[in-house]
Symmetry: C2
Subunit: 367 residues, 2 copies
DNA sequence: GTTTAGCACTTGAACTCATAGAGTGCTAAA
DNA sequence: TTTAGCACTCTATGAGTTCAAGTGCTAAAC
């Protein structure tokens, strides 16, 4: 991932950078005359033309039509963006501002991310994106059945990381508050840290023995646990402020917007990216940028994605970022996304991760 | 809400109906010659022209340009749709099919609605919509603090209707399992069925007295309850399969799609509709149709919304439907939406509403 | 009174043609 | 290596034309 553009002469680099910036600013192809007149160069337009022709053969620039100015290619943007990231020192100036904006809505991670996505959209005028990877088929660490009424219980299932899921159980026969306690005990004894696929019939029978009072209840409870564990949190993607993109000329035609809408609908593609960066060797916790069709993200089409993962105690729990046209104002967006993610990181870390006592250490016992 | 078009002659009605159906089918303005040749009429095109001119002055038809065929106006569609609804007898044939498709994912209402929305989109090839109204500032009926670790608790807050919310609490000092019980008792004693705005300082002090062991914990818990109660479930809107709409010519330009995207983003407008139909005198539990800018739903633009509310025990708990172009295949869509909503109704009603024992009967005691 | 035939009229869509403008590539000179 | 100049390419724009569809209206027919 070293600088690809190292071989470029200083002038070529300057030209490339200027083309990118000008195109980002104006959205129009950049011609040699324009560059010549912009004051950054001492040479003539002809020289610039020659240089640009070379930059084109090198793959950094391209022409929409034979007789129009140049626009950056994907690799052109990549060069520019890598340059930016290299020189970017987390200003951290607006972290405070963003943090305070988020703190208003101190709540669960879920709603923080949604807020963040909205904030990202507002601050950059692109589409904000927030995502939370699925929790695979996470097992539950602890259970508690709460007695609500003679025929209804609330089953609380708590994961290792403290997040919980609830499910209502309703029986045909009357129960006593004691039954809830017995059920809790049985669940905790048999299903604690057992992943969905290990919930088998023998287990169920063992549990029924423990709760002779209400075998039907046990069966319902186990079924609920099984379902809740196997459906997992399927992960979630929030796209906010999609309509802002419609203001940009690159989304004038329906084609281009279609991909994005599909992205919001399918939701799996974006999740794959984060999952990928999670297992990838090189998630250095910095802002990452995907341009166009890099990394087989088809639906991103001609857009770019700038994002940063959010962590709690070293583990990736989500990501926030921005989706916009390829000619995005990367400077602002990078620093904004960085600050935003940092803000969330601080927020959820001093919110302190409520953890269960270490038990099975992730891996489950296979008794 | 009686038939507006009662005054129309049989032939005018037939013409109107045929225009609507043909326009729905082909998406092109309908001319007199086409109608004449379609076999339904014995008169000449000139006669039809005359009739159509009248239908235009009556407001049922309009011409995009002076010299093109006619297309239905909003009232034109309304006439057609009312006719359909009038003659529609819940076929209930495919309820079973839909129900079984849904039963696969037997889960909480939330996920049922999402599934339903996706199903609606697939079956009709329009955009599926599912919404769940917000639960105002609903108070909680019952609380339970679950001891997780010496410094962390899980607070479970349960509403009258059995739905629950959880929140993690984390303290700086070690707690005992007994503290969780005391806290639960105090919360149940003081905050049960108290709406957010009635959670005041005196109450908080009273509770601290009840839990002398950990005043900080009480303060955190009350704060969490207050936040959870006041933020309520803000309601939710799911739009699935928006990209399908892009295939229809009416969404060829960006303008028209913009409104829909905004609809998905803001989410409040659609919720307002259901809220409105909830309090409205005339929610007869049947399929309802909103066309274009009827009922001040600006963002719907040139689209139409077909939906039906979902109930549990008589109370509206959500709605499912379809958004598509004005020239939607209403016949299919109406029956599909009806079946879908019925399927959900059955599903969640034999899933049985787990209720708390009647206590404050909605109104809260103001001690 | 209602229906029909015929005709003039309007209008949008599609096509061609010409022009202007922008920017290039290339060659030859500095 | 840079520059000046020039021919070339391509797009966007606008005017002019034709074509087809469909109407509105009038006068005749049932």
């Amino acid at each position: 991932m070293k600088q690809k553009g190292e071989g470029l002469s200083a002038r070529k680099q300057l030209i490339l950078r200027t083309v990118v910036e000008s195109y980002i600013e104006n959205g129009e192809p950049v011609g040699s005359k324009f560059l010549c007149d912009c004051g950054k160069f001492t040479c003539s337009s002809a020289t610039i033309r020659n240089e640009m022709a070379e930059l084109e053969t090198l793959g950094y620039l391209e022409q929409p039509h034979t007789s129009s100015g140049r626009i950056p290619t994907e690799t052109g943007y990549r060069f520019y963006v890598d340059l930016l990231l290299q020189n970017y020192n987390s200003a951290a100036g607006d972290v405070e501002r963003i943090k305070s904006a988020l703190r208003e809505k101190r709540a669960e991670l879920d709603s923080i991310l949604t807020q963040a996505s909205r904030l990202a959209s507002t601050l950059t005028n692109y589409t904000g994106v927030a995502l939370r990877p699925g929790k695979g088929n996470a097992a539950f660490a602890k259970f508690e059945a709460i007695y609500l009424a003679p025929r209804s219980l609330l089953l609380v299932m708590i994961r290792e990381d403290g997040t919980a899921k609830t499910r209502n159980l309703r029986t045909d026969t009357d129960l006593l508050p004691e039954d809830a306690k017995t059920l809790s005990a049985a669940l905790n004894a048999c299903l604690s840290n057992v992943p969905a696929h290990q919930i088998t019939l023998p287990l169920m029978m063992k549990m029924e023995e423990m709760c002779p009072a209400a075998p039907v209840l046990v069966r319902m409870a186990v079924k609920s646990v099984y379902e809740a564990a196997s459906e997992g949190e399927s992960g979630d993607v929030r796209l906010e402020g999609m309509d802002r993109l419609l203001g940009y000329p690159e989304y004038a035609d329906t084609e281009s917007i279609a991909g994005l809408i599909g992205l919001g609908d399918s939701k799996t593609e974006l999740l794959d990216i984060v999952a990928q960066s999670e297992e990838g060797e090189e998630d250095d916790g910095e802002v990452k940028i995907l341009i166009g069709s890099e990394n087989r993200l088809g639906a991103l089409g001609s857009s770019a994605l700038v994002y940063k993962t959010v962590r709690r105690g070293g583990k990736i729990v989500g990501a926030v970022g921005v989706i916009g046209p390829r000619r995005m104002k990367y400077q602002n967006v990078i620093s904004m996304v960085d600050s935003l993610a940092n803000g969330i990181n601080e927020l959820i870390s001093d919110d302190a991760p409520p953890l269960l006592p270490e038990k099975g250490e992730g891996k489950t016992s296979d008794d």
